[in-house]
């Protein structure tokens, strides 16, 4: 996964270097929108779904995006992107600015432009309350299991300290959950994360003091100097008039370093933080969640399920059409075509779908083909599943005895007529069950497209689970959603199988 990320980063860097200088500002002005990329799975308090009403995206970076857009005289529009892919998506042009706790680091300047910092986070260590052996100093971390996020400053600090680093690709919940359950000894993460996921857990405690500091900045595409200047000016003005300090104050994440940057936060309650505590501090009992919280997820899950279904249907249609061509080409075509079809099947069957999707979405733009996320998802899934379908149909075609083809030949039927009226209909019956199986698998594999900014069913669940801190209940809910969209197809397949196998039902004689 990491190596893959590095690979795609290379690809997109090359693309960015070759392309003409971008003018994001002009496109922002033209569309009246500031498209900003973030990962809602990243969680509170950055960008997340309001646990009390998941239809709304909230977080201090959401507030920041709104204020920034206001200064630019446009509207802010969030675009979902997997967190560790944000900079590649930015280079690809999926949004104008990445705004999601992006750390200021030298190596990032090769792939994007960074604004002035808007926040400084302290690295905070969280341990189990009352754990006598808990590591509480940097030195004590050596050799201990410590959880953190991949690619973060915290990860580098831990590596230097000689800790046994556990990086989590998922949400923050899991990192602290593992600590609570004793699977790790400590967690080192940015202050805001520690506050929202560590502090709310009574069994955990935050160790005093900072283990390092990291600044967050906005990222814009390489060459997009005009937008960079505009955003810097907007940040400057937001700092000067106290807007930033007010936002951080209300989210309860102010600290001395940030105050030096944007001024001190006004005294008072951190209302957003208190709201979060109230919402997730203690999960309501299951049936209460079913009554009060889950109904609000309906429209989100519906949208996710709709996307999953649409993706799967389009991909499957592509896979079936291409698979048929491959199977027929492989069985009846001239030698070079047979080899080509075999090579296709082996390639797409033998390499991970994730790599194929990454190549289609991030790699093809290098060759000048820039697909939108839905198209890229359908093409990658379709190309991949075509290999499986080709094998299904080949098995179906081969299951028809050679005598059938000879009988057709003797009757004068051409190759095409034989395939169409004799071999094909008999092969279909054999191919339907594995085809159904593949479709259900495709329905699930379509969750991979969250990589390319699409919030389908699984991603919807992961985001919700992260913001509502509820994995089990929502997990059951999403399972039901998958079954609801999958079962009708299983039923349809049974009917089709019965239809094509009707000649095998013996009548009473």
């Amino acid at each position: 996964m990491r190596r893959l990320a590095a690979f795609t980063l290379m690809l997109s860097t090359a693309a960015a270097a070759d392309g003409p200088a971008r003018d994001g500002l002009a496109s922002v002005r033209r569309t009246g929108e500031l498209r900003w990329g973030a990962d809602a799975q990243g969680g509170a308090p950055y960008v997340f779904q309001d646990p009390m009403d998941p239809n709304h995206l909230v977080g201090f970076e959401v507030d920041l995006s709104v204020e920034l857009a206001k200064r630019l005289g446009v509207k802010a529009r969030p675009v979902h992107g997997q967190w560790d892919k944000l900079l590649e998506l930015l280079a690809r042009g999926d949004f104008d600015v990445a705004l999601n706790g992006i750390e200021v680091a030298e190596e990032k300047r090769r792939v994007c432009l960074l604004t002035r910092p808007y926040f400084v986070a302290e690295e905070k260590l969280t341990v189990r309350r009352g754990d006598a052996h808990a590591p509480r100093t940097l030195a004590a971390l050596a050799g201990r299991k410590v959880g953190t996020l991949p690619g973060s400053l915290a990860e580098r600090i831990l590596a230097r300290a000689g800790a046994e680093v556990r990086s989590y690709d998922g949400g923050q919940n899991e990192i602290y959950e593992d600590l609570r359950l004793g699977r790790t000894d400590a967690v080192l993460l940015d202050g805001p994360v520690a506050r929202y996921y560590g502090d709310v857990e009574p069994e955990l405690e935050e160790v005093d003091g900072s283990f390092g500091e990291v600044s967050y900045a906005l990222a814009v595409a390489v060459g997009d100097e005009a937008l960079l200047a505009e955003l810097n000016a907007a940040l400057e003005s937001l700092a000067r008039d106290g807007t930033l300090a007010r936002i951080y104050g209300s989210w309860g994440i102010s600290n001395a370093e940030t105050a030096a940057l944007v001024g001190a936060a006004p005294a008072g309650v951190s209302e957003e933080y208190e709201r979060w505590r109230a919402a997730v501090g203690k999960l309501p009992p299951f049936w209460e969640r079913v009554r009060t919280r889950y109904p609000q997820t309906l429209s989100l899950f519906l949208a996710g399920a709709g996307l999953t279904l649409a993706l799967s249907l389009v991909s499957m249609a592509l896979a079936v059409a291409l698979g048929l061509g491959l199977a027929v080409g492989r069985r009846y075509g001239p030698m070079p075509l047979r080899w080509t079809c075999t090579a296709y099947v082996e390639f797409f069957r033998g390499t991970p779908l994730l790599i194929q999707l990454t190549m289609v979405y991030f790699g093809l733009p290098e060759l000048g083909l820039r697909l939108d996320p839905f198209a890229a998802g359908c093409i990658a899934l379709g190309l991949n599943y075509a290999a499986a379908e080709a094998e299904n149909y080949r098995a179906g075609l081969e299951s028809v005895p050679a005598g059938q083809t000879e009988a057709a030949k003797v009757l004068g039927l051409s190759r095409w007529l034989t395939l169409r009226h004799v071999v094909g209909p008999q092969a279909v019956r054999i191919s339907i069950p594995p085809m159904t199986n593949d479709f259900i698998a495709l329905l699930k594999d379509s969750s991979l497209v969250s990589l390319v900014t699409l919030t389908e069913l699984t991603k919807t669940y992961v985001n919700l689970a992260s913001s509502m801190r509820d994995h089990l209940g929502l997990g059951l809910l999403v399972a039901i959603w998958y079954l609801v969209i999958g079962l009708p197809f299983a039923q349809l397949s049974k009917r089709a199988e019965a239809h094509f196998g009707r000649h095998l039902r013996k009548v009473a004689q």
């Binding site: 005598g403 004068g412 009226h421």
Partner: protein, 258 residues
């Protein structure tokens, strides 16, 4: 003359000896002919070569003026064209019938007339029903092959072949896939078709079936060694090797009643 085979040579790649060695015969039109020979004599190869299911190197197969030559004598494209013309004049009833299992008896008999000959569906169905009725299957038109007995399947296969109106209808071992008690019934059906004037060639190693034919050819080691009416060939053969063959068949017959 309906079916004429002249100097046919078929040698399998890598085989020391040819399977068909300049084999020739000329069928009398409108008769019921048995092509007799023990297994390995080249009967199946001959049948497959005549039907174009397998190539032959030299010689000709001629049906009603249409001719196929050996692969060493004409180009593949020419040969393919020749084969198409010859196949139109030939029908084959496979040993295992090879009915299309997903089609009803009627559909089995109308598929090729509609798709190949371009008959209207109604015309093809009328013709097929007529043939099925002639073969005693009037009430089985809507049945799928799986729902039919072995004998019924064979008659559907005959109807399917006859629907294409061939000059010559060939049978590959018509009794071997059936219960021995059905032999008489098969013979009866063959005679019924014989009455319509179609030339029939029954490839078999079944003496009883051969006795019911009007003319017998005996095949051995890839050649026709004797021919004539069954009364003569099967009771007073001219050739020594025919006598030996008959003796061995009778022995076989006494050991396993087929």
């Amino acid at each position: 003359m309906t079916l004429k085979v002249d100097m046919l040579v078929r040698r399998y790649p890598g085989a020391a000896e040819a399977t068909l060695k300049e084999l020739s015969f000329d069928l009398p039109a409108g008769t019921l002919v048995a092509l007799l020979g023990r297994s390995g004599a080249g009967k199946s190869t001959l049948l497959r070569c005549v039907m174009g299911l397998e190539p032959f190197e030299r010689g000709t197969v001629e049906v009603d003026g249409a001719k196929v030559q050996g692969t060493e004598e004409v180009s593949p494209a020419v040969r393919e064209r020749q084969l198409r013309a010859v196949r139109q004049r030939l029908g084959l009833v496979f040993q295992s019938f090879e009915l299309f299992p997903h089609l009803t008896a009627l559909e089995n008999c109308t598929l090729a007339p509609v798709k190949v000959k371009g008959l209207t569906r109604a015309k093809a169905e009328d013709k097929a029903r007529e043939l099925l009725a002639q073969l005693g299957l009037a009430d089985k038109a809507g049945s799928f092959p799986e729902q039919l007995s072995g004998g019924q399947k064979q008659r559907v296969a005959m109807a399917r072949a006859l629907a294409m109106e061939p000059s010559v209808l060939l049978y590959d071992e018509p009794t071997s896939a059936l219960d021995p008690s059905l032999k008489a019934e098969v013979l009866q059906t063959l005679h019924r078709v014989d009455a319509t004037g179609v030339t029939q060639v029954v490839v078999t190693h079944d003496l009883q079936l051969a006795k019911g034919a009007e003319h017998v050819f005996v095949l051995d080691h890839g050649q026709v060694i004797e021919s004539g009416p069954p009364g003569k060939v099967l009771t007073a053969p001219e050739h020594d090797s025919t006598r030996k063959l008959l003796a061995s068949w009778l022995e076989d017959g006494s050991r396993k009643p087929t």
